[in-house]
Symmetry: C2
Subunit: 190 residues, 2 copies
């Protein structure tokens, strides 16, 4: 599997549709790292340009990987091994390119069905072929239109039976990873 996940804290919108840097949230790191490990994601990148936030992430990671947390909660340690802090999306793309020998395909999730260019089953096929994918998620009120425009492919929105969609980014990541990499035997065979 050659799937990478990035959680962007910049550039994202706030409620008023202004471009902001959001704060890193402890629980986003844990929940998304655990989901990433469950579904076989190669690496989970936390992206923020703020030096103090990058330091905070590294301190937190070292607590769980090497400090008291590593013996207290070994299943968190192994999940957090997947996490890398990075100052920008460009840096993340560079790391993946140098690791894989090719640029990853940038994938985002659209807010409307009309914008979708890639189905979940097509994305599953790409993943099975080993193509490097980088799936982008935004904190706050979502990725800016400039980031969405950079994407190579856009997945259809997550929708249930209601018009309400204010899932937390933690829930959205879990659902997308399940749609892309959940084992089909659970869903189809039984």
């Amino acid at each position: 599997m050659n799937v990478h996940v990035a959680l962007l804290h910049y550039p994202v919108y706030n409620r008023q549709h202004e471009v902001i840097v959001s704060s890193v949230t402890n629980l986003d790191i844990h929940d998304i790292a655990r989901a990433s490990l469950t579904y076989g994601v190669s690496r989970f990148y936390l992206v923020t340009p703020l030096e103090d936030q990058l330091r905070l992430i590294r301190r937190l990671l070292s607590h769980w990987r090497e400090g008291y947390g590593s013996t207290r909660n070994p299943e968190r340690k192994v999940a957090l091994e997947l996490v890398t802090a990075a100052p920008s999306l460009a840096e993340v793309i560079g790391i993946i390119e140098s690791d894989c020998g090719q640029k990853p395909e940038l994938v985002v999730t659209s807010a409307s069905l009309a914008d979708a260019t890639l189905s979940y089953s097509e994305a599953r096929e790409k993943i099975q072929q080993g193509k490097p994918l980088l799936i982008l998620f935004g904190t706050g009120w979502g990725l800016t239109k400039e980031v969405l425009a950079m994407a190579d492919s856009t997945l259809p929105p997550i929708r249930g039976f209601s018009d309400y969609n204010h899932l937390s980014v933690r829930s959205a990541v879990a659902i997308i990873l399940d749609r892309l990499m959940g084992t089909t035997n659970d869903r189809y065979l039984l």
Copy 2:
């Protein structure tokens, strides 16, 4: 849709497989309420026998429903309208029975494929027929074997491509609701 979700804080296991009452977590309430509203869940029950925890939940709900939080975050308010605090699973079953005129079918998720008695597609069919289902989730290290034994149906475990499964309960609820009630057009047609 006649699907109900209950998050049990008792009886659940801790890491040492002892039966405990776990503490209510603010973020569980928000994330699961938002996922419940997204997927059309009828009601989300928070179950704990502890009087002070029940009081805490009610204070929190009233802050977001009526207090400062209701105007600051209207999309949280509408999600939290779905939440009911209850002292026991028996009480939850009683409420649903009196609302729906029949006992709900109790559904849990198994840890192993061998225990599964109901596929996701069979469960989707029941939901479409309007049968009342109550899906149980456990905090901590999961529901006790006594609760699992009470279930009428057991869904296959959530699995990705790895052996690791330590998803947060928030992620697990989001994924199960998507498997049961995500719109199929997103997944299959595009």
